[in-house]
Symmetry: C2
Subunit: 501 residues, 2 copies
Amino acid sequence: MTASALERLQAAFSPETLRNTGHRLIDLLASHLDKVQKSEGRVLNWAEPTENVQRAADWLHSSGSEPLAERFEQLVREMLARGHNLHDPRYIGHQVPAPVPLAGLFDAVGSVTNQVMAVYEMGPWATAVERSLVNELGGIIGWPAGQFAGLITHGGSLANLTGLLTARNVTLSGVWERGLTGADRPPVLVVQADAHYSLARAAGVLGLGTGQVVKAALNARRQMDPQKLDDLLARLRHDQCSIVAVAACSCATPIGAFDPLDEIASVCRRYEVWLHVDAAHGGAACLSRKYRRLMYGVEQADSLVWDAHKMMFVPALCAFVFYRNGQHRFEAFQQNAPYLFDPSAPGLADYDTGLLTPECTKRAAAYGLWGVWSLFGRELFEDMLDRTFDLGRTLYERLVEASDFEPLHEPECNIVTFRHIPEALRQAPPQILDQFQLDLRRTLIRSGEFYIVQTNLDGRQALRVTIINPLTTAAHLDDLLNAIRSVGRKILNESVTSRPQ
Amino acid sequence: MTASALERLQAAFSPETLRNTGHRLIDLLASHLDKVQKSEGRVLNWAEPTENVQRAADWLHSSGSEPLAERFEQLVREMLARGHNLHDPRYIGHQVPAPVPLAGLFDAVGSVTNQVMAVYEMGPWATAVERSLVNELGGIIGWPAGQFAGLITHGGSLANLTGLLTARNVTLSGVWERGLTGADRPPVLVVQADAHYSLARAAGVLGLGTGQVVKAALNARRQMDPQKLDDLLARLRHDQCSIVAVAACSCATPIGAFDPLDEIASVCRRYEVWLHVDAAHGGAACLSRKYRRLMYGVEQADSLVWDAHKMMFVPALCAFVFYRNGQHRFEAFQQNAPYLFDPSAPGLADYDTGLLTPECTKRAAAYGLWGVWSLFGRELFEDMLDRTFDLGRTLYERLVEASDFEPLHEPECNIVTFRHIPEALRQAPPQILDQFQLDLRRTLIRSGEFYIVQTNLDGRQALRVTIINPLTTAAHLDDLLNAIRSVGRKILNESVTSRPQ
């Protein structure tokens, strides 16, 4: 190794380098957070993808002559300047929270020291932290200690895949080894009609086929209708269809509708069908005395998904999968890796997370959640959920009061879907109104003034928000409506002036 | 919201809290790293799982009266004290590196501010950084710009799953929608006989069935034998079996054998079979002038997995999946999520990573790699790989010289598998020798003196190391052999004294 190579290597691993750059990082992050919380800049720093990709590549190819800590600081400044500012209270967008910033610091303990799981040995404390939280949340769901099991994986989509993989393997005995080509007739997966795309996607991945997904009908509030589910299951049973699972939502994404779990569970029990609950967003309602009712009956789920990186306000990704019957924990995967799992200590296998999760090596994804919980207590999560759920109601009331806004539902939580229909467009044809909503949103978010999203509800284009920043207040919601109005006027003016003469 | 709740909330999100705790964190991490690099403590801090889980739960349930920053520091100290010290040069274990510590700092920028992907908007810079690295590594593999595609996912197992899912969907047309129950006869997946368990597992997940995995025979160096592969594919074609893919390894886990990709690719081309290469560990050899030869022919792979969190020395998880033909990038998944993907800006879809990856929300997994590369340049990765691969050879030479050690192969990289056979056990029966290797390892790692792993090779229990810490030197390897000898003597003495009189 050359002298300069050795020098580079030593600089890269030096504790002093870590100390110097680390302190700079903290100052940059704290100043950034302060500025963002005060809405001093844009919410989303919009730039065209090609521009950003070129710039990221330029950094890879340039070798600065400045001192290391100086260049480190430049890189961090670039990362912050071109990112998305979720801590700005005007970020009211996707189901991705403005996280408790300290969760990111606890997470960094895992990253810098590279604590991982798969086998207990490799991450004894990472494993312990994960298990302690599985135990804690399982108890909060309502299950007796020792009877359930759980794991953490990298996001709700993988969590849904894992839960449904288990359901598939349990329901269709021998399928893990034999595959699905042996099946007499194609099994089906029943999902809430508004369910997240990852559920149908799981059917595609698992070899069931997305064409084998049967949608369970909704009631007027877009919840799964238990009576219609009963009819559906009766028909499927009559047709001798294997049913892999019924997937219910707590809540579904379009308008945040919570399915009536207690009644759905009764129906599933009657037909002996696996009940999977996608509570990625709403699981945290179990922590709230005020909103726990939305999860009534959840303890009857066979498998359950709960994303801590949504309504528990930790950074992505930290998604829990639970099995009511802990015996099912080894049904998803089976493997033999002699260099991993020590045959001379079989008792440890129960702590080898690689046997349970789609990942082999897995990062210490629970460090942030465990740290924040241990630092602030469980109450903080209840506070944050109540506050943001309450604001969903507040926004709805504002929309009802305003003559130029149309709420498309009465919200059950912090997800609200609506349209802006200014006076000038009252009589406009549907396509014009749809396009107007899309234009509104794109113009608004690229201005950096607010960040919201869109959805399509029964063929109608709509605006959609998730109030998922505990620093957002009712005043911000008023400002949002005014900002939408203002953008709307601008769009209408432009369309008038650009009209052919 | 009560006054105390509001106070708690403000403390949790306060930039000043972040600043105060952050600076403490950096000092703790830097001091820890210094101590660990000097081997002042144990490598693995072993404690029984039940003890660690109880302790993690105790923190969740206790509410300290100490000031916030004080309690934060206690929590971090606990995390460090009970973790695994991969930066200790005596950590010579799994294929999980002692990462460049600064990668963890860059990663924290993403965690604290919660930069995520799925849609470009949500993480414009995270997406750009990922894309710039995909472009860079694809070019290094040898593909012309614009013709290939790639993505990052959470680990090699998911990367293999994604690559094989694409192979399945391309090979078995219509299977995504129809599922596998429609297939006439069960398709097979051909994998290197020593391949990582995630490949066979993928067959289980994807509905092919683990029973449909056909092992490709190895040569004496445990590489896939191209001639035998040719015979196998001829036989499968003759039997009119659909072949989802041939999965080769660069390298396989047991002894780090690199398959002869160029010859294997020729065979696959002849039979028009998809070639998947699991280069999770060895992909980084493409960056080394000295070791690039191990990857000769890699540019002919249809899909390829390359874990940056292995031989590019960044923390878990940052796994790349590449497709030689970029047109295949949308074959793995198909979905429709109107609230995610903006129909009014279809050009952006190519930057919406959620269309390509098993994750929907995805963390900014490439921040660490991008930061380290931009800070130290590409050369650092070559240095680290060369240094650790070279040490594999050094260890082998030491084992050959020692009369009481038996190397089980000539290493091609930094993975070395061997046995310790002291004089007293020369004539011992195989089971005794096998048990001895297991006892050696467990005693050694629980002492905290070194960390190594074990494997089973053709029914023989063996010790296995991966030299994956750039701070490990030849002197540490000498110390390792002496430590194993010493533990061996202790075990033998104890077995003598505990023998029934």
